[in-house]
């Protein structure tokens, strides 16, 4: 793999170079220890929060917009909308988010490609960033602490310099736009990189045992945990909004007074009451506990059946977002404990 180093003081310059070609998005502080991806243009390099652990919303917000227009309609028929072809660069995705992106990349390419998602995705350059966990991260539990590929560049913070892995031709091109800022990797850089990995590895230990989890869940669908969760959860959908791999959406028409309008889609959640409603007010999961359970089953059983991996990437967002304080790790461990 092609590797380089970049001195910290050149990062801003490098991002400026990137800005010439791309709308650069960086993690910035939102106050109160929270972060969000925002345009570099509106903030300046000083705002770049390299120390962030997780953003309020995952990078999916750039690809599957919270609300977007699918097509327009009028008396003449339905008309496509152009997705803005503005290239952009997402700087600073942690491995868990890169995993998340991979999962939804795949999801939105089968069985049909989602054209809006794909064209935004095609226009994006992704720069990863190495990280250290906080108390809510559980990537080591979900096995997403490491990522090989799925990025154009990946930055490891070695203190006064970054160790940079190039993951694609586009990433290579980016480096060569400002080649003079980058240095070839020497032995010492490699040593420091490995040292960083070593240190990080010791902070990243699995939080709970999830061995056989899918099998346990499937074998024990009536686990008492689901009823307890059904009582604690208010089905506000916060967890699904912030989840990097939740992709459900709702389609509806927004009409103007002249009868023309837009067909829109908006993030939806399997926790909402009308999610599965069909004509005649029939629901398939009318109990809140069924809905919560469905969410966990989808991540931990269904997705594993389909793709041999859990759809949870351990980013800790849902736990952070949940006003009711429901914490995935403890849910998983309690479910797991039913087979102890």
């Amino acid at each position: 793999m092609e590797t380089f180093t970049l001195y910290r003081e050149h990062l801003g310059q490098f991002l400026d170079v990137c800005q010439e070609q791309f709308r650069v998005q960086i993690p910035v502080s939102a106050g109160d220890g929270r972060y969000r991806f925002s345009p570099l243009a509106g903030h300046g390099v000083e705002a770049l929060a390299l120390e962030y652990h997780r953003t309020l919303l995952p990078p999916k917000k750039y690809f599957l917009l919270p609300e977007e227009t699918i097509c327009t309609f009028d008396q003449k028929g339905y008309h496509p909308v152009e997705v803005a072809e503005e290239p952009f660069l997402l700087f600073g995705l942690h491995p868990c988010d890169l995993h998340g992106l991979r999962i939804i990349d795949q999801f939105f390419s089968t069985p049909y490609a989602d054209s809006a998602y794909q064209s935004r995705r095609k226009n994006a350059l992704i720069v990863g960033l190495g990280c250290l966990p906080d108390d809510k991260c559980f990537c080591a539990t979900m096995n997403t602490q490491q990522i090989m590929g799925g990025y154009d560049l990946f930055f490891w913070d070695l203190g006064e310099r970054f160790y940079i892995q190039v993951g694609s031709e586009a990433g290579h091109g980016l480096i060569h736009k400002a080649r003079e800022m980058f240095h070839d990797v020497v032995d010492e850089d490699r040593q420091d990189y490995l040292e960083t990995l070593y240190q990080r590895r010791h902070l990243l230990t699995p939080k709970v045992d999830v061995a056989d989890l899918s099998q346990i869940m499937e074998a024990n669908p009536d686990c008492a945990v689901w009823d307890e969760l059904g009582a604690a959860c208010f089905a506000c959908g916060a967890c699904t909004m912030v989840c990097p791999t939740c992709t459900c959406y709702d389609i509806f028409d927004r009409v103007e007074l002249d009868g023309s309008g837009r067909r829109c889609r908006q993030w939806d959640s399997c926790l909402f009451r009308d999610f599965d409603r069909i004509a005649g007010e029939v629901h398939f999961r009318s109990d809140r506990s069924d809905r919560v359970k469905n969410r966990f089953f989808h991540k931990e059983v269904v997705h594993v059946k389909q793709h041999q991996r859990s759809a949870c990437v351990g980013c800790g967002r849902c736990q952070e977002a949940c006003p009711a304080g429901i914490d995935v790790v403890s849910v998983l461990s309690r479910v797991h404990a039913s087979c102890a």
Binding site: I70, C71, F73, D74, Q75, K76, G77, Y78, P80, F107, F108, T110, P111, Y112, A113, D114, S115, A116, P221, T247, C248, Y249, D250, I251, F252, D253, V255, G259, S260, G261, R263, R265, D268, C270, F275, D276, R277, I278, A279, G280, F284, F297, H298, V301, V302, H303, K305, Q306
Partner: protein
Amino acid sequence: MNVLLPLSAHMVHHRKLAQDVALFQLQLDDPFAIGPSGENHRPGQFVMLSVPGVGEAPFSICHAAHIDYLELCIRRTGSVTRRLFELGENTLVGLRGPFGNGFPMEKMVGKDVLLIAGGLGLAPLRSVLQYVLQHRESYGRLILVYGMGRQAEALFREDLEYWIDSTKLDVCLAVEHPAPKDLFPADTGHVGMVLERLELTADNTVAAICGPPVMYGPVAKILRSKRLYPENVFFSFERRMECGIGHCGHCAISCRSTCQDGPVFSAWEARSLGEPLEV
């Protein structure tokens, strides 16, 4: 191509079939468009039909591929369907599809075909029936069991008359509330009672079922008692659908999307998805 973009189509004709049920004939504006044209679908597939400003909903194509327009048999229940009934001929609608797997016509080749319809469930099964009639020599016996509350609710009356008279298939009607002026010979009761008395060759019969969900459990039970193989019994399922391409999440049953992997599932599959069917 954007699969979520409906193709413009026009309503050619619609006519009442029963109280709150009508047959709609639709035609794509662009005859060369790749979309639901009336010819390019498998029996049991459905389309997403849009009414501008109101929304979109899934409907089964109710005929086999043979005509140059699309026929949908629709019951008025909610917003989209209510509006459809108000629309005049030649109004603009949108169409996407066809979607879904449809009934496995290949699996039925050489076998007896048993169609069990409850109420509106006749719509998708009519496409299977027409398909079998079109390829009559490839299939064994063809039996239609059609249940309804009252004969006044019977759909596709001309078809029924023709089918009843025809020697190409057997038709058994089950009517829960008979009335003196009823036109068709029928059993009194629900489809289960008709099924009970049918002589079926257990290892050579394929069943296709569509109707209200309450019908599925009892029918599955009877078919099991008749020793049909669960992998030869096919149910068409109904779930909320919005995208039709397995993305929006609404129709998921366990790890399958009803819109893409279904709506037709064998009794075995359905049960493995957690549907409470006894097979």
